[in-house]
């Protein structure tokens, strides 16, 4: 069976309904989706305000790494059928969805929730995308803390 795998970096508004339709098959009855949005107000750790974020990506490598994340999901949750991983880049304001990870399967007790969670965790580890935060008092690059290992 050839299941749909969608991965892309885009500057366009994310369309969750269209994305879900692209990974819905006759055999899928359940989808788990993670959406990330720009926070205007952050309370945890270092409380601060955000005016906007500016995202950039190393597009061809990012898309290759998204494909790799999808393959890792398929190895870990073979019951997952459709997978979509989409990151929006550019200048994004609070409340705007920036990233979508969606997994479909026949039933909801097949690991779809864990698969979507794994997808966003891995995206934040290995997919080459960065964001710079513009706040009331200036700008800061946000850097992750994951160092990929050989083979990742």
């Amino acid at each position: 069976m050839n299941y749909p795998t969608i991965f892309s970096i885009t500057e366009d508004e994310l369309d969750l309904d269209a994305l879900l339709a692209q990974i819905t098959l006759e055999s899928t009855g359940a989808a788990a989706v993670f959406a990330g949005m720009v926070r205007g107000v952050t309370s945890r750790d270092d409380p601060h305000q955000t005016v906007y974020l500016e995202y950039e990506a190393y597009v061809p490598m990012a898309e290759a790494k998204m494909r790799q994340v999808a393959e890792e999901i398929r190895v870990r949750w073979p019951t997952v059928e459709g997978i979509a991983i989409v990151q929006r880049i550019g200048k994004l304001y609070p409340k705007t969805p920036t990233v979508l990870i969606a997994c479909t399967a026949a039933h909801r007790d097949t690991g779809v929730f864990d698969a979507a969670r794994y997808g966003i965790d891995r995206l934040k580890e290995i997919v080459p995308i960065w964001k710079k935060e513009f706040g009331p008092n200036g700008e800061t690059w946000i850097e992750g803390d994951y160092i990929p290992k050989p083979g990742e």
């Binding site: 990330g36 995202y55 950039e56 990506a57 190393y58 061809p60 490598m61 990012a62 290759a64 990151q87 920036t98 990233v99 966003i120 995206l123 934040k124 580890e125 290995i126 997919v127 080459p128 995308i129 960065w130 964001k131 710079k132 690059w141 946000i142 850097e143 992750g144 803390d145 994951y146 160092i147 990929p148 050989p150 990742e152």
Partner: protein
């Protein structure tokens, strides 16, 4: 000699002051040596060089990797997508 393309992203791009550059390096140069060459060419990069990630032809690569002919190299900080 081996002509390679170097891409810089995020903090590395800002510190280098360029998005990409093409340079010639000796055949057999390793990732570690190329980072040293770049640190010499772009002294502003040095604060980022300790935690820099390095890719060869869009795959993560490590210090002892040998740079292939006409490679596309990228240097960037740990990722922060999402």
């Amino acid at each position: 000699m081996n002509k390679v393309k170097i891409l810089f992203f995020a903090t590395l791009r800002e510190r280098a002051g360029v998005r990409s550059v093409e340079i010639e390096i000796p055949t057999g140069t390793t990732a570690k040596s190329l980072k040293e060459i770049l640190a010499a060419d772009y002294p502003n990069l040095s604060p980022s060089m300790q935690s820099v990630l390095f890719s060869i032809n869009q795959e993560y690569a490590f210090d002892d990797a040998v740079i292939p002919e006409n490679a596309e190299i990228a240097l960037f900080p740990p990722v922060s997508g999402g």
